[in-house]
């Protein structure tokens, strides 16, 4: 229940605000707006920094992964052996590049597009909990009760920026890209939202923090293993989320083989890089939602703390010194970020493995397959919770988690033991020993 007279006081009660109250020597119940304002400023600064840094990291990762998949090395020179500084060099290049606005463009809309796209993707981070209570908005006692709905809502504004860019460029290629993006997003939002509803039905809450806290303990407590419907919902959600980030195989808005570069054909320099910051931010955000809803959130899945007889929540164990700095929360946030990175890696992997679909195939995948599947999943999970669960109990999750674990182990063993055939002789396989020349393809 919300008291009518207290307005948006959540930011004034957050952990960060308490830190500033402690720092400024103010009492806990002081109503001065300064600690709240400072906390809001710091939270925004931290989030912007995190989004920008992870974009830098993801761009480097994308180039390396693309290199390995295409049997080349990717960046190797800038910043040492692994090309760590390649993205920084790219960034400097984009900063000094000439900022062009085409003569036929609608200047205001052309300038506005990248910012709206970035704002839409960035706003999702406001409601993303990195650990127990570590949310920019609605921290502390009053958790953000509709977090996942808010994220879906603000992520949908990103498309508007893309469409404005496509329309405002005054170029037919851009307009095609923007219109495709509109059609694609209007379609894919529906199965994505329906798949998000599946764990929401299971948890009975739209609060991402609460959903994640429900999955504490061993990894079979994660919602992805809970019943067959949540298991399928995870994969369906991830497919829709990949399409929502306009990543290949759903990157029809760019489609450089048909549309030059799609919606950002006319963009250069810093404005162009805003679109890419938005894309990588959105990738992390949708992966974060997937981890929080299905993948146990910030929980490791191996409750070593429970084994030694402590509380299952790390944040309650390593709470030192009394609410000012919570080491348990910091470790949990690290676990969460690593899990998100894994899912972002999968998105990159899929992009460089699968060919791009045609626009009619993209729409068909959504309307003929993903939409009915997600409707069925929502119905199925409701029926499972009402009818199957009282009889089967909680045992199904052990079966599903065990099967998934066994298949992961078998796949890993096959990958790490079977020699991989390479097109060129004399180069080491990514794993394992050098392959004898008789197993490789001879070149004349």
């Amino acid at each position: 229940m919300i008291r009518q007279e207290d307005l948006r006081e959540d930011i004034l009660n957050g952990e960060l605000t308490n830190l500033f109250r402690w720092f400024l020597g103010l009492p806990e119940d002081s109503l001065s707006p300064f600690p709240g304002l400072m906390a809001a400023g710091v939270a925004v600064g931290m989030l912007v920094g995190f989004v920008a840094l992870s974009a830098v990291f993801f761009i480097w990762l994308e180039r390396k992964v693309a290199g390995r998949i295409q049997d080349r090395l990717g960046p190797t020179r800038v910043g040492g052996k692994f090309g760590w500084l390649q993205t920084i060099a790219d960034g400097i290049k984009l900063l000094v590049k000439e900022d062009l606005i085409p003569r036929d463009a609608d200047h205001i809309l052309f300038r506005l597009g990248p910012y709206i796209a970035f704002c839409g993707a960035f706003c999702a981070f406001i409601a993303l909990p990195f650990a127990q209570g570590w949310t920019a908005y609605g921290t502390g006692t009053g958790a953000f009760a509709i977090g996942v709905f808010f994220i879906l809502a603000v992520m949908s504004t990103e498309v508007f920026g893309i469409i404005l860019a496509g329309y405002g460029s005054g170029s037919k290629w851009s307009l095609f890209g923007g219109m495709r993006e509109a059609a694609q997003m209007v379609g894919y939002e529906i199965p994505m939202s329906l798949c998000v509803l599946v764990p929401v039905i299971v948890a009975g809450s739209m609060d991402l923090g609460k959903i994640s806290a429900n999955q504490a303990g061993w990894f079979w407590e994660w919602y992805v293993f809970r019943d067959p419907f949540t298991f399928v919902a995870f994969w369906t959600y991830f497919t829709c989320a990949t399409a929502a980030c306009k990543r290949a195989p759903f990157d029809l808005a760019e489609a450089e083989s048909e549309l030059v570069a799609g919606f950002h054909t006319e963009y250069s320099g810093l404005r162009w890089s805003f679109f890419f910051m938005a894309e990588y931010a959105a990738m992390f955000a949708v992966s974060g939602v997937a981890v929080l809803l299905f993948g146990g959130g910030w929980h490791l899945g191996l409750p070593v703390w429970t084994l030694v007889g402590l509380s299952p929540e790390l944040s309650q164990v390593l709470n030192w010194p009394s609410n000012v700095l919570n080491i348990g929360n910091a470790i949990n946030a690290g676990v969460f970020i690593v899990k998100c990175w894994v899912l972002v890696f999968v998105q990159i992997w899929v992009r460089w493995t699968l060919p791009r679909l045609r626009i009619d195939q993209v729409m068909m995948t959504c309307i003929k397959y993903l939409l009915p599947i997600s409707c069925f999943l929502m119905l199925g999970v409701s029926l499972w919770e009402v009818f199957a669960r009282p009889y089967l109990g909680d045992y199904f999750k052990f079966v599903l988690a065990g099967l998934v674990l066994i298949s992961i182990i078998i796949t890993a063993m096959r990958v790490f033991t079977t020699p991989m055939k390479l097109p060129t002789p004399g180069i080491d396989a990514p794993w394992g020993p050098r392959i004898p020349a008789e197993f490789t393809i001879k070149r004349s």
């Binding site: 007279e5 609605g138 009760a145 808010f150 809502a153 508007f160 469409i163 404005l164 209007v186």
Partner: protein, 196 residues
């Protein structure tokens, strides 16, 4: 001035300026962009008031709505690269008359209402959405019993027991009419030469 008041004034100014922008812009896509800002800052006011669900709904419904508006605006009205709407004198007159009429109604109602009283009884809480949802389904046991606020003299009268199903259905039918209208507008007007 408190933090909330300052934020409210900023958001209200943005909303008002964007709303004027919608009215005076002749380029259809720019007008839609102004509309986007007006609706988004309205959502900001909802967030400021603590109505998170309403704010997020405002974003997801209206931003999606404006997006469709842009697409339809471009697809259905574009004959050249950037579309400008030409407004005649008669249209100006009619829209000004309607706008002034609406404004006067709102202003009269606003002047009759006193600002919300500071001394709200301590047990007076906003309703959780669960009760509203149950009431929408016609369940009379959880019909909202919120009190009407902002009345003259600061007195509270309990709201009468109403079932919200009928207004809800009327709105749905209205939306259906809008949908049919949109489908009619978007219908491709092709001649079926192969049949005739």
């Amino acid at each position: 001035m408190t933090l909330h008041a300052a934020l409210f004034y900023i958001l209200a100014t943005v909303t008002a300026i964007s709303a004027i922008g919608v009215a005076v812009t002749s380029n259809i896509v720019r007008a839609a962009t102004w509309l986007l800002f007006a609706l988004a800052s309205t959502a900001g006011i909802y967030f400021l008031l603590g109505a998170d669900f309403l704010g997020a709904t405002q974003l997801i419904v209206y931003v999606g709505g404006t997006m469709i508006l842009v697409v339809f605006g471009v697809m259905l009205t574009a004959s050249g690269p950037f579309v400008n709407m030409k407004v005649g004198a008669a249209e100006w007159a009619i829209s000004l008359a309607v706008g002034l009429l609406l404004y006067s109604v709102l202003a009269i109602v606003l002047l009759q209402i006193e600002p919300p009283s500071r001394n709200i009884p301590p047990n007076h809480t906003l309703l959780p959405s669960k009760h509203i949802g149950a009431a929408l389904l016609g369940s009379s046991s959880s019909t909202p019993e919120a009190k009407v606020t902002g009345l003259r003299g600061g007195q509270f009268i309990p709201r009468t027991r109403v079932s919200y199903l009928l207004p809800f259905e009327i709105i749905s039918v209205h939306l259906l009419v809008v949908l049919i209208g949109a489908a009619y507008l978007a219908r491709a007007k092709r001649r079926r030469e192969d049949v005739a």
